[in-house]
Structures are given as C-alpha cells and as structure tokens.
C-alpha cells in the first residue's frame, strides 16, 4: 500500500511524463486513490504497470460506480496490485454523463490486462459504459435483448409492490 507521501510521489512522476493525466489523489482509510483523466487512462495504467519501481502488474478488479447526482457522474475503478510488495492502488477514471442518446466512452484496457475483458463487459452490461477497443463488447449477464442499464441510479428498481394487510390498513 503506498502511503500518502508515496501516492504523491507517484502522482508527481506521472505528471512529469504526462501532464494533466492525474486530476486528484485521495488517501482515506489506508487506501490510495489516483483520480485520473478518463482520456488518459491507458497512459496511466501502462505507466503503473511498466514503469520501473512501480510494476502494478495485476488488475485485481475492474468495476464502475454511478455517483448521481455528482458531476461527473460515472467512475470506472481499476484495482491494481503489486504482488511483490503486496501494494494495492486504486485508479479512478471519471466519466461525464453523455445524455440520453449517447453512452459514455473510455478506452478498453484489455490489451494491458487481459483479465479485464469480462469485467469490462459486465460494466457495459450494467452501466452502459462503452469501452473503446474491446474485442467483444456485448451483454454478459443480462439477456441480449435487455433494454436499459440497470445499475444506474436513475434506473427503476423494478419488482412489484406487495400490499401487506398492515400497510393497507394503516396507510392504504
């Protein structure tokens, strides 16, 4: 786990090569987070994977979150792991909502981390985030003809209301 100064060092080194790539850092609850510009996500991931002294070679998880009503709304999280030093680093790429008709887009990291293939499909399936360059970006868990992105916060939960006698009597 890089500590807070270590995280700032990483940020400084990335800034040297790729100015503007890192937007912010945060260190809370023993967890280092790099908030990066989504257009430069591949550059940052590539640097963290290959730069000498870093070698975060293992992508232990890739997932997304919807921070509605915050802006930008979506974030794709990359949980990186260095298995020699057992250090974890979270990279967070913020993505703005692109409106009703278009889907937010980010570069696919399947070339860097092959394990991301299914996880990117899952993120696409539930959040409707398009990973550019993904070899087979289709729904993975939901039926192919499903309409909508159910893990977005503005997606209705679904199900059916159950009318219990108690509620009916007191609030019905």
């Amino acid at each position: 786990m890089p500590d807070a100064p270590g995280l700032e060092l990483i940020r400084g080194e990335i800034e040297q090569d790729h100015p503007g790539a890192v937007i912010d850092t945060s260190f809370a609850q023993e967890r280092a987070v790099l908030v990066v510009d989504s257009s430069q996500i591949l550059v940052v991931l590539n640097w963290l994977r290959d730069a000498p002294g870093q070698s975060y070679r293992f992508l232990s998880s890739l997932h997304a979150a919807d921070y509605l009503p915050a802006e930008p709304r979506f974030a794709v999280h990359y949980e990186l792991l260095n298995r020699d030093r057992v250090e974890r680093l979270r990279v967070k790429a913020l993505l703005a909502d692109s409106g009703e008709d278009a889907l937010p887009e980010i570069d696919s990291c399947v070339e860097l981390f092959p394990t991301a293939e299914f996880q990117e499909r899952e993120v696409f399936d539930f959040f409707g985030i398009v990973f550019k360059g993904h070899p087979d970006l289709t729904r993975i868990l939901l039926p192919d003809d499903y309409v909508g992105w159910p893990q977005r916060r503005d997606f209705p939960v679904g199900g059916e209301p159950v009318t219990f006698t108690y509620n009916e009597r007191n609030y019905g």
């Binding site: 868990l141 939901l142 039926p143 499903y146 909508g148 159910p150 997606f155 209705p156 939960v157 679904g158 199900g159 059916e160 159950v162």
Partner: protein, 216 residues
C-alpha cells in the same frame, strides 16, 4: 396377521366356501373406476426432473428428496430424471431470473403429458426478496404452477406436504384449464412410438384446434 395368512391359504386350497368366501372377497377387493386407479398410479410414481435453480436446490431438495430422514421415496418419487422428456414433475427451487425463464419454459414444454410443477420457496412463487429488475416476480407468470410451497427456504416437511398436496391434485381432476390461460395450445408433447401411445381424444382435439388457430 397369522390368521389372515391361514385364511389366504385356505382360500387358495379351495377350502373357503359360501358366506366365508363372500366375506373374504369383500375384504380383499376394492371397487373403483379406471380414472381413479390411473390417478392413484400416477400420483405414486412421479419422476421429478433433476433440476435446481438457486439456494432452495441446495437446501431443500437434498434434504427433502435424497436424505434418509425425509426421504421422498416414501411417496414414490425418488427417481430423479436428468432429461425433461422422462420427467413429469419440475420443482422450481429458487429465484427465476429473467434470463432463465425462457429456458425453464422450454424445459416445461419438453416434458411429456401429464406434467406438473411445484414452485418451491418464496422466490419462485412471488419473487421473494428479489423485488428487482432481474428476477421474474413469480414463476406462474410464464408457466402453470400446480403447488406453491412458501418458505425461505421451506422446511423439508413443507416440501413434502406440498408434494402430498400435489398427489391429491393428481388423484382428483388435474385439468385446471391452464392451457387456455397460458396460451399453450399446440405445445403438447406426447410419448409416441406405438399404437397405444396416442394422446387422449381431448388432447388431440385441442392440438388440432390450436393448429387451426395459428393457421398451420
């Protein structure tokens, strides 16, 4: 017990005569009609489909069906079939996701007549705790269910009670008009292959009517 054996021996020897023989026959013979006998035979030789959906399949079916303590073999249904073509009971054990629903419906359609379905647990009966976008809110939305067993998961006793309820239903009149309600005319599957394996006249008529309706 011993006296009965002795009387049976006497009967076989031809020693029983007159009133004694009458009484013996009355004791030994049950009068019924063929439908009732068929229902009795069917209800006591159910072949359930080896099929599980979720946690009820882990929790309930081995408990209720396989283990010696509860032992569904007492009711003649211990022979699980791995093919829907050989099964006549499907137990929906667990939540039915919208992606699984068409597959379950196909399995059900592939089962041969007569066939039955038990919805085991809250999830397959009503969606249960999964009141969300991914789970069908009750399996009877897409296929007919004969018995709903509530519980999360149901106790093995509850499953067996539901099963005996189903046996009662089979012995009574199993036709509840579900084919019309589910628009399932024409999906009948009958064992074929011999002159005596023809469908009943009602089923054949329903099949012909359905084919006419779809203009085949």
């Amino acid at each position: 017990m011993r006296s009965r054996q002795l009387r049976a021996r006497d009967m076989l020897r031809g020693d029983l005569e007159g009133d004694e023989l009458e009484r013996y026959v009355e004791e030994k013979v049950v009068m019924t009609n063929f439908d009732k006998m068929l229902g009795w035979a069917r209800s006591n030789s159910i072949f359930p489909l080896t099929f599980g959906l979720a946690c009820c399949a882990i929790e309930g079916i081995p408990m209720a069906a396989v283990t010696a303590r509860y032992d569904i073999a007492r009711f003649g249904a211990e022979a699980g079939r791995a093919s829907p073509r050989q099964a006549d009971l499907i137990i929906l054990s667990g939540r039915v996701s919208i992606k699984m629903a068409p597959i379950i419906r196909r399995l059900y359609d592939q089962m041969l007549e007569p066939k039955w379905a038990i919805s085991m647990g809250a999830c397959s009966s009503s969606g249960g705790m999964f009141s969300n976008y991914a789970v069908v809110q009750g399996a009877d939305k897409f296929m007919p269910i004969d018995v709903h067993v509530p519980g999360c998961p149901p106790r093995p006793e509850a499953v067996l009670y539901g099963f005996t309820k189903l046996q009662r239903k089979i012995q009574g009149n199993p036709d509840q008009g579900w084919r019309a309600r589910y628009g399932a005319h024409g999906t009948e599957e009958w064992a074929r292959g011999g002159p005596r394996s023809e469908p009943s006249t009602e089923a054949a008529e329903a099949y012909e009517t359905a084919r006419k309706l779809i203009g085949a």
